[in-house]
Symmetry: C2
Subunit: 361 residues, 2 copies
């Protein structure tokens, strides 16, 4: 569940990208109306974050991945296993975004007739691999037939007893921190959609060795995202329920804007501190695009964005002088009410919400 | 969730019915293989009933309804509201089938672009109407775009503290009881798919008045099924966890066979005692079909089938001599290991599992 009712418009079929932009813009506007409509109709205390938090410390979230909207169906063992992994990871990431621990998953699959039993087994293996990695029991679901492959996963988890971090918990003065790196998933998607790159990878040409970069990391970021469950658990153990948290599934820019909006704070972000891997930058340049744009607007990195009190952050850092902690600071929450992007001490580009992940191909 | 992983092949588009039979037979065989595959892969103590029963007395179930597989999309206010109602009712019926009480629902909708905001609002109104009727809070979900309308509903409920009735709890000597009546949904489907009947209804021609029958009941059974939550709750209050229960979503014959298999008992069912309404019989005759066939194999009635000890049943009846209780007896569990159909004291037809709901159009 992304903003309880949000859009998930991920990897689009390459040939659809160009002609669909204006059509999609129109569509998304309608979708945004739908979200508002649903929120007004069902308005209750559960709707509005990455998961619904129910009595008994329960967290629940549902996410759907649909063929042609979120992925291209490639009937190869590795790709189907990746799809299974990713479908599960997307829902688990919503539990991470509330600093919870996942317990159970239900998997509803709509199967097209052109998918064989063996294809299905590959897909399911990916689902199981990811659920096992994150100690989540698959307890049920549904199998129906349909014209396209569709996977809806519901995950039930538990919030940490120390607290539950929502989007609305940031305060001016908080440190803005993130896990991992950004833009890598977009780089992976570009490589996947580009026949030449893909053939290089499939042909085992050592794409990893160009300038010492490991391009397979980009593909892995796109195909097998790792929900940041351990990281958010570590965070909530430090800060309890005092802070804000969400996953950056729709891009870093979207996450910053959402936390800013829900918490009614501004932010100053130093883009030079936003972690971007060298290989992501190389791929971006290969396509004539700016690595920072991919980091801000690319989406699907499934990293975490959090705000926590300066004092908590410093204590955490001091206690771990000799070892890394899974977050790095990229800015600070302010009382300006606006997300301001800096490049070191210089003014950076304007945050452009129209470019956020759900608005672009 | 129907048998945790089961098939839900409901109302088919009329023109698809004839040409698809053999194709579907093939398909379903594959689907059954898939179910077996999933069960062997995820095999745990949760899989195998209408809901997964999780620690903390929780019941969870997911069901998907897909356009062209489960319903024909008719973009009219009443039909869209009906579709919303039915989608919710199907999942709530799984909670009823475990004698639980539903609490929360998550709704994942895949929207085709040809559905307007107003259409969506009608659909959602139906979902809300049904969830409110059964005191279930809609707490989240997902909205994605796709080529066909698809609705996956996850319901989280609580089992009754007195017990949870599974499919495997019947014992020889138990009384087999059912709620409501059977075959009405199939009659409603036939009327819906038959332009002439539909036009009569739409034109407000008094189809209800033919021979004093109320044919709108058939349509209501098909379009707005009522999950038997109060009835199963009443049952478990009588019998605790001593008995068996499931919903007859895939037809009475399927439910009898499933309970028989899971409980390792036989059954003797008196078909003359299976409740079939007069209007259902009239519609069946109109189409040259046997009302009993519709009752046994028609499906989508969302009634309950239960087994409970003779003594409990008699006590319940005796305490309610002056008023109706929501179940009626249709037979008895035996140690024969086989479901035997009787017509009073005469041998009835063989139970034909190949004709069960998921196998026929």
């Amino acid at each position: 569940m992304i903003v309880a009712f949000n859009l998930l418009l991920l990897s689009l079929v390459k040939h659809q990208v160009a002609p669909m932009v204006s059509e999609k813009e129109k569509y998304l506007t309608k979708e945004q109306q739908l979200i508002a409509l649903v929120q007004s109709k069902v308005g209750n205390r559960y709707v509005g974050d990455d998961c619904a938090r129910l009595p008994g410390n329960l967290l629940v979230t549902s996410d759907t991945l649909v063929e042609r909207t979120h992925f291209i169906l490639v009937k190869e063992e590795a790709r189907l296993k990746d799809l299974g992994w990713k479908s599960m990871a997307v829902s688990l990431s919503d539990i991470a975004a509330m600093a919870g621990v996942p317990r159970y998953a239900l998997i509803a699959i709509t199967m097209p007739e052109n998918l064989s039993r063996q294809h299905f087994a590959y897909l399911y293996q990916g689902l199981i691999d990811c659920s096992k990695r994150y100690k989540t029991d698959i307890v049920g679901g549904d199998i129906t037939k349909g014209t396209v492959l569709s996977i809806t996963i519901t995950v039930i988890g538990e919030a940490n007893e120390r607290g539950c971090l929502l989007r609305g918990g940031a305060k001016p003065g908080d440190v803005v921190v993130v896990t991992g790196d950004f833009g890598a998933s977009k780089a992976g998607l570009k490589m996947l959609l580009d026949d030449k790159s893909l053939k290089q990878i499939q042909g085992n040409i050592a794409v990893d060795d160009i300038d010492g970069h490991h391009f397979s990391n980009c593909l892995a970021s796109h195909n097998r995202p790792l929900p940041r469950l351990e990281e958010s658990w570590a965070l909530v153990n430090e800060t309890g329920s005092r802070g804000a948290l969400m996953d950056a599934s729709d891009g870093l820019a979207d996450a910053l804007a959402q936390i800013s909006r829900a918490s009614e704070v501004g932010m100053t972000i130093d883009l030079q501190k936003v972690p971007i891997k060298g290989e992501t930058a190389v791929v971006a340049k290969m396509y004539g695009e700016a690595p920072l744009d991919w980091a801000l607007y690319g989406g699907e990195d499934y990293q975490l964005v959090a705000c926590l009190p300066e004092k908590t952050w410093q204590t955490w850092l001091n206690r771990n002088k000799d070892k890394a902690i899974p977050f790095q600071a990229i800015g600070r929450a302010t009382s300006s009410g606006k997300v301001e992007l800096m490049l070191g001490n210089e003014q950076g580009p304007e945050l452009d919400l129209r470019r956020c992940f759900q608005h672009i191909a």
